[in-house]
Symmetry: C2
Subunit: 152 residues, 2 copies
Amino acid sequence: MTQRIHFNARIEGVEYDVLDELVGYAVRRAQLSIYEDFAATMDGEEITPQRFSSLVIVENNPGISQTRLAEVMGIARSGVVAIIDGFEEKGLIERQASGDRRSYSLLLTKAGARQLKRYKQAVKEHDERISAALNQAEKKQLCALLRKLCPP
Amino acid sequence: MTQRIHFNARIEGVEYDVLDELVGYAVRRAQLSIYEDFAATMDGEEITPQRFSSLVIVENNPGISQTRLAEVMGIARSGVVAIIDGFEEKGLIERQASGDRRSYSLLLTKAGARQLKRYKQAVKEHDERISAALNQAEKKQLCALLRKLCPP
DNA sequence: TATTGTTATACTCTATAACTATA
DNA sequence: TATAGTTATAGAGTATAACAATA
């Protein structure tokens, strides 16, 4: 028998105790729900929140190096190699020579820009869906509060 | 050379474009920062947010089955086996016979209850640290807004 | 027939450390 | 000496599918 995996943030009859009082758990809960909708939205497409972010960062910071991208995403440099390898194979990102011959300048290809435009559209729709219970003011407020959780 | 991995939610001089407008990315950002502080807080202890949650759920829902726990945590049943195996080895959780001989009743041991009390204390301090920039009203508001992101 | 716990397996993500070529 | 990208490797987390025992 198959078991469909699904995160239900609050299950009837289950006592969550302290978890209900922790800001951290509230964020985690939301994140799991959001991730699930993202995955369902992008079903079939080989894209994850992580990979989507890296495309956006490369698009808006053309010529960025892999090490810098790793820093922005908060992962090890070796992880970026795999990500860029994947996008390069698909023809979405190219590694261009930079002034420093140790490093590359990452750039979106034309195909990459076209694909990202489609991804952005889908992600925006996903984002509106998951935040549909909030009005514009609440969304802004939520983002502002979340920003305060990130050390400056 | 070692490269210390660290997530910086916003890096000077980097253009984030649409990521700055997505509720989903705001949540993800916060989650990464929070996780980092959690890991630093619990350094040395063999505990993760996931494992901490399962201890809390077992404590407050004594006799819960593994399948039910999997459902609460939104992971596969096989994942729960590994988690409970680990806690059983440490003597924090025990599998007791239940009415249905196919399933176990999960219970915290005395040692488990003592250990969880310590974990709770540490997690609460961690949670207050990561949300130190918010006053009580803001925390409540944030949790309320986040709750609206989780499908009912 | 269906469900519970379990196992085997595979896949993804990730960090670490060592390597190379450049600086 | 230090840095950028790369590789090899290992560990964690996870899902899937099949199995035995039980319902």
